[in-house]
Symmetry: C2
Subunit: 322 residues, 2 copies
Amino acid sequence: MQYQIENLLPLIEEAISEFKIPVYPESLYMPVNYFMGLPGKRIRPVFVLQALELFKKPEKKDANAAIATELFHNFSLVHDDIMDKADLRRGFETVHKKWNEPTALLTGDALMIFAYQALVFAPEKELKSLLMRFNEMSLAVCEGQQMDMDFSNLPSVPVEDYLKMIDLKTGALIAFSFEMAGFLAEKNESIRKSLREFGASMGRCFQLRDDYLDLFGQESVTGKKLGGDIGNSKLTYPVLCSMAHQKGSEFLSIWNQNPESGQARIDQCLKWMHKNEIPKICIELIDKEIKNGLTLLAGLEGNEETKIRIESLCRQLAYRDK
Amino acid sequence: MQYQIENLLPLIEEAISEFKIPVYPESLYMPVNYFMGLPGKRIRPVFVLQALELFKKPEKKDANAAIATELFHNFSLVHDDIMDKADLRRGFETVHKKWNEPTALLTGDALMIFAYQALVFAPEKELKSLLMRFNEMSLAVCEGQQMDMDFSNLPSVPVEDYLKMIDLKTGALIAFSFEMAGFLAEKNESIRKSLREFGASMGRCFQLRDDYLDLFGQESVTGKKLGGDIGNSKLTYPVLCSMAHQKGSEFLSIWNQNPESGQARIDQCLKWMHKNEIPKICIELIDKEIKNGLTLLAGLEGNEETKIRIESLCRQLAYRDK
């Protein structure tokens, strides 16, 4: 129970298990249940409920609404896996691999609809604004995924464009998760805005840490070979920082080697990055975002003890080792 | 102006053109605009507004909400085209053909989100129930599409299962379109239920007519070669009726010929169907559904002149020649 969320997770798991997923046609709902049952941290509904503790004790109906974030996240994963032709998700076969692409497409569609179904558990007087914000968030996630795909065909992109992309693809849902607490507690737009901006900063940190761990983590802890993103020529933050560095042309000559050079190219890129303090630059941006976010959090009304818990959870995620 | 909808279409086209589709990333929103701009009858929002005329004069905000049905319909078409690997839609290239599958996947996702965006133009006090019904309808459409795909791997299915499938895949959205008028006019559940059931009957008719025209239409009018569904061994209502006929084994021996036999097989199937009065059986079911539906319509409160217009529109669609 690393994240002090021992009191929230059972509420969330209960809401997920009680959420009514139909049975027929089994060819559609078996994949839905399969994917929702894969091991996951349920971190987005945890954010909702932990932020809600700023204002009130989370109740069952709050958890019923909060799982909209988890259902939507799973929708986006199922569709992203199709687009990325990924075979594995959380160590298990992806839906399109275990079944087929049309089934995975409909599985994702159904998960998005289920997310909208969960929203109706929110207080009715908030529903219209909540629905509008959920729609904005959903579109943002689609836009981020489209930008991510577009980037994969480009030799490079400006760092700002990359940050914009991760803010959309990853940050928007995390920002929404924190903001959702404001709706569930029936707080005004100004409070919701602070929650949303706090969440946006955290979302950016988590993705930057992802990028960082792929290149600079410890293989024995992450369980993954370092530099996978370099092998795939994926433009992540450390790579774009390296390109933008004053000695970027030196980096580019290594980066632009034939990808067939494989491990040698990865090793040379990593060596160059360490020599030019790219890991430090990455951590500095994470530090800055955390600091921004925590200023917003400190300025919020709400239970002070909960703020400490939220800070602790976010720090653990932003500086996680795997 | 065949369907007497000359006063409603401009309202709908205005709502569609004013609906705010973002610009960036263009790689996502160009395909969305492309698909929404393909020639289409906008028949679902026409149903909403024409049914609304039972109770009140449709206003701009009603049209803004009604286009949720058109946006959702377009979502389902874009995703169905991916699943069916269709090259053409309404005579134009499909999105996945003109761009690529990942883009089409996200285009469909965005269209579904836009449908939910349009819903917020409905009266706020109806929003929760409307959202719940929209979610049910959306899931039904996905279930119908999954069943349709499942059927394509089977040698036959019971006629009842086929009707269930078309009720979900096609009927649910048409039923919802009529029901939506009840929400926009803030009518009670009993009235909405009658509208929904009327719409369900009509939806079934329109699909049955589709099946009929593919086999028994006039090539010079439909502009398509007759029997395409037989060529594709698609289990449509006339085919399943033929299989369920007392001389079904006779039909099966023709149907089960190697599909390579091509036109000869199609011609023999059609000849057998005409000899055994399958076209008549199809028309009888359409007649029965129309009669059911019109009884529901007659029993509704509402403007009598509008009922006549709705009846006329539905008859034209249920007995259309192309």
